[in-house]
């Protein structure tokens, strides 16, 4: 009776997670074979200017927070210190990444405006960035929060499907020789990599 329900739950959880499992697989394959190109190395997909008057009594981080509010870029989070840079021209740059894009906002203080350069990540890097979103950090947008909870569900599902998969094997066909060999071979390879790589 328990095995029947475990089988049912194994199937249901698998079906609910079919898309995210495919995303994890794509991310793993992309990380294995594709080179990582820093997004800054590419020409921006879009450049636009927004009027902005920088108050004279703020430090860089305070100014960056004001820039963040003025730029109002969707899915971005308030900048931290590590999001700030000074370009070769000495101007303050605020990097505001989202899962799909990198916005670099340069404060053109003499011209009283912001230059917003936007570069879209390619599909592989988009998925790779998306799969790292968890509820651990505050997220400004409900779509990202929904995705983060989906990832949370997926990570527990992955553990659940692995554990119930072994249960179903042992409950239904425990004496299957090649399955035992397959399990032992996988465990041996994993242990060997752990020892050699640690």
């Amino acid at each position: 009776m328990a095995t029947k329900w475990i089988k049912r739950l194994h199937i249901y959880v698998g079906l609910l997670n079919s898309t995210i499992l495919a995303v994890f697989a794509v991310v793993g394959l992309a990380a294995s074979f594709l080179p990582h190109t820093p997004p800054d190395a590419r020409t921006p997909d879009e450049v636009r200017y927004v009027p902005f008057e920088a108050p004279g009594d703020l430090d860089d981080l305070e100014l960056a927070r004001l820039v963040y509010e003025a730029a109002a870029l969707p899915l971005t989070r308030p900048p931290a210190k590590f999001n700030l840079r000074r370009g070769e021209d000495g101007l303050l740059q605020v990097r505001l990444p989202t899962p799909s894009k990198l916005h670099v906002v340069t404060v053109l203080e003499p011209g009283n405006r912001l230059r917003i350069e936007t570069r879209a990540f390619d599909m592989w890097h988009y998925l790779a960035r998306l799969h790292t979103i968890t509820p651990a950090r505050p997220l400004p947008d409900w779509r990202l929060r929904a995705w983060a909870w989906y990832i949370e569900f997926a990570l527990w599902s992955l553990i659940f499907m692995g554990a119930t998969g072994v249960w179903l094997w042992l409950a239904s066909r425990p004496g299957l020789g090649w399955a035992r060999i397959s399990f032992a071979a996988g465990a041996a390879v994993f242990a060997l990599m752990l020892v050699l790589g640690r």
């Binding site: 199937i11 995210i20 499992l21 995303v23 990380a31 899962p99 692995g162 397959s182 790589g197």
Partner: protein, 191 residues
């Protein structure tokens, strides 16, 4: 056909069980950093280097990596006005190396991971061309695990479809999961 697919599902699941479990378990610190801290132990050491054979960062790294405790992959090589900086990483430890040009020793800060930290390192290390045989093999295993996830999903969907009694409930769940995730994928991409 059904029997073949069922056996493929079992063969993949049994071989890659620990690999898939690794990704599930090592994701927990990303989602809940306070539950199982993966705080490393930090130590510092000076490692002798022959300045005559330290013409570039790789040459320095190779001298250091000859010692068993500093084995691993060379990452993040940087030159600056004073010399070189680089990292030597493996699953269980990361060594930050600072070498000042002409010096007879390099300063090494080592972060040794606990068991969860080691799993997290295994999670994030990927790539089939990393310049180290052990980690290249690991990179191929990561690629194979990813391909296995695809196949486990595809064979699982087939096996479910063949269970007539579960078709209706399963159809609701697969449509629900797919519509929810694809909607968010497209929406976040477009924002």
């Amino acid at each position: 056909m059904y029997r073949w697919i069922r056996n493929i599902h079992l063969a993949l699941g049994s071989f890659f069980f620990l690999f898939v479990l690794l990704y599930g378990v090592s994701s927990i610190p990303f989602a809940h950093p306070s539950w199982i801290p993966d705080t490393p132990t930090v130590t510092k050491a000076s490692v002798p280097v022959d300045p005559a054979a330290a013409g570039n960062p790789r040459a320095v790294a190779l001298q250091i990596m000859q010692r068993p405790e500093y084995r691993g992959m060379l990452k993040g090589v940087r030159r600056d006005a004073e010399g070189y900086r680089f990292r030597i990483v493996r699953f269980g430890a990361a060594h930050e190396v600072r070498y000042r040009a002409g010096a007879a020793e390099a300063q090494v800060t080592t972060r040794t991971m606990n068991w969860m930290g080691t799993l997290v390192r295994m999670h994030v290390i990927a790539g089939v061309k990393q310049g180290s045989p052990v980690y290249d093999v690991w990179g191929w295993l990561v690629a194979l695990t990813s391909a296995a996830l695809f196949l486990l999903g595809a064979t699982g969907v087939y096996l479910w479809y063949k269970m007539v009694a579960e078709r209706r409930a399963g159809l609701v769940l697969i449509v629900l999961g797919t519509v929810f995730s694809l909607t968010l994928l497209v929406w976040i991409r477009a924002a």
